[in-house]
Symmetry: C2
Subunit: 213 residues, 2 copies
């Protein structure tokens, strides 16, 4: 059955980004340390048209992430291009052929026409909130999953709303000490770890989120 | 070689105790949820003179915890009995035969004579700080390990001081939302996950802490 999932890297002290995030440094100070494990994998390099990298648990987890995803939802900050009315030149961080290859629904307060990119990725800009984005993404995904691509605040919002079925955390063994927390203001969801895996670089824990009756 | 270790249960959002800790409720609101997995195990029941409980990963982890420990260090709040000068009637939470069966060094600002309990547990009260407690505990432990028993602030202090060799976290799939954080103000230690295990109730991750050169 179609699920709403998400996966995100966090520090051991719970931050999804470091302090002082900016347009130039969207992950904040030290935030890139949360993603070093990704760039080392063979899976990431394949997905981005490269070669080499390391096989193994982390690479398998990354492969798993993109399987069965029929649509993505992301916050505006993750799509990038700054705040306020759109600069139509900005088409995301990912170049002409983004690595999504499905419909992507971007939450924004500012209207913009949809974009069709190479490789099957489309960006649709949603002005009427998370519930509407979920409805549109579910319809686009059919019997495949809807993945919340990020950033942290979009995932938190979705978790708080009880809309997430699975949360896949990649817990990176670093202490950032400050930054943007993932699990703040999300209420008291019923979580059950259903998969654990890891390497010296990162520990993966997949949680199923029960629906409260 | 003798190590300084510790193990502690934390919520997925990083709290080792819930909010509003008090003498009556030392784990704070909801804090007992972090320990439900312990009481369910066969290992815990055996260690506390009981029977029954569940075998399996969590029980094995608890068995592992007490192996090779030659001495413990704990903070005064964990030993209990309130703050200020000692009420000599208070001999800890654990009755006449505490589950440590080794020397235990209790950090306190208030002098008190050592206590010998049944089963080989002794409580020695250390007035001159963590470094002194570590020296005494290492001497008592010989070639066995020194375990920091808790609470969270004692573990944080030890981690911040670079005195910990291993940190074994039991990550419980609950969101407490508030309380006492374990990994705040501990600097930027170099951590490497060296073991992961788990059940639907809890995920265990053991980190080795590298010495900074």
């Amino acid at each position: 059955m179609s699920k709403v999932t998400c996966q995100i890297s966090i520090s051991l002290d719970g931050f999804a980004a470091g302090p002082n995030q900016s347009l130039e440094n969207p992950l904040g100070e030290g935030g890139m340390r949360l993603h070093d494990w990704v760039f080392a994998t063979a899976s990431w390099r394949r997905q981005h048209g490269g070669q080499g990298g390391t096989d193994g648990v982390d690479s398998e987890v990354l492969d798993e992430m993109v399987q069965g995803v029929g649509a993505y939802i992301m916050g505006r900050k993750m799509f990038g291009g700054g705040s306020g009315p759109w600069d139509e030149e900005w088409k995301g961080w990912w170049g002409d052929d983004p690595p999504f290859h499905t419909p992507v629904f971007v939450l924004t307060h500012h209207p913009r026409r949809a974009l069709s990119m190479l490789g099957g990725t489309t960006f649709t800009f949603v002005n009427d909130g998370m519930a509407s984005a979920l409805t549109q993404a579910r319809a686009a995904a059919g019997d495949q999953d809807v993945a919340i691509a990020g950033g942290a605040s979009t995932i938190s919002q979705c978790l708080a709303a009880g809309a997430l079925d699975e949360l896949y955390l990649h817990i990176v063994p670093v202490i950032l000490g400050a930054g943007e927390r993932l699990l703040e203001g999300v209420g008291d969801p019923v979580l059950e770890p259903i998969k654990i895996a890891g390497s010296p670089a990162v520990t993966h824990i997949k949680y199923r989120i029960a629906k409260r009756s």
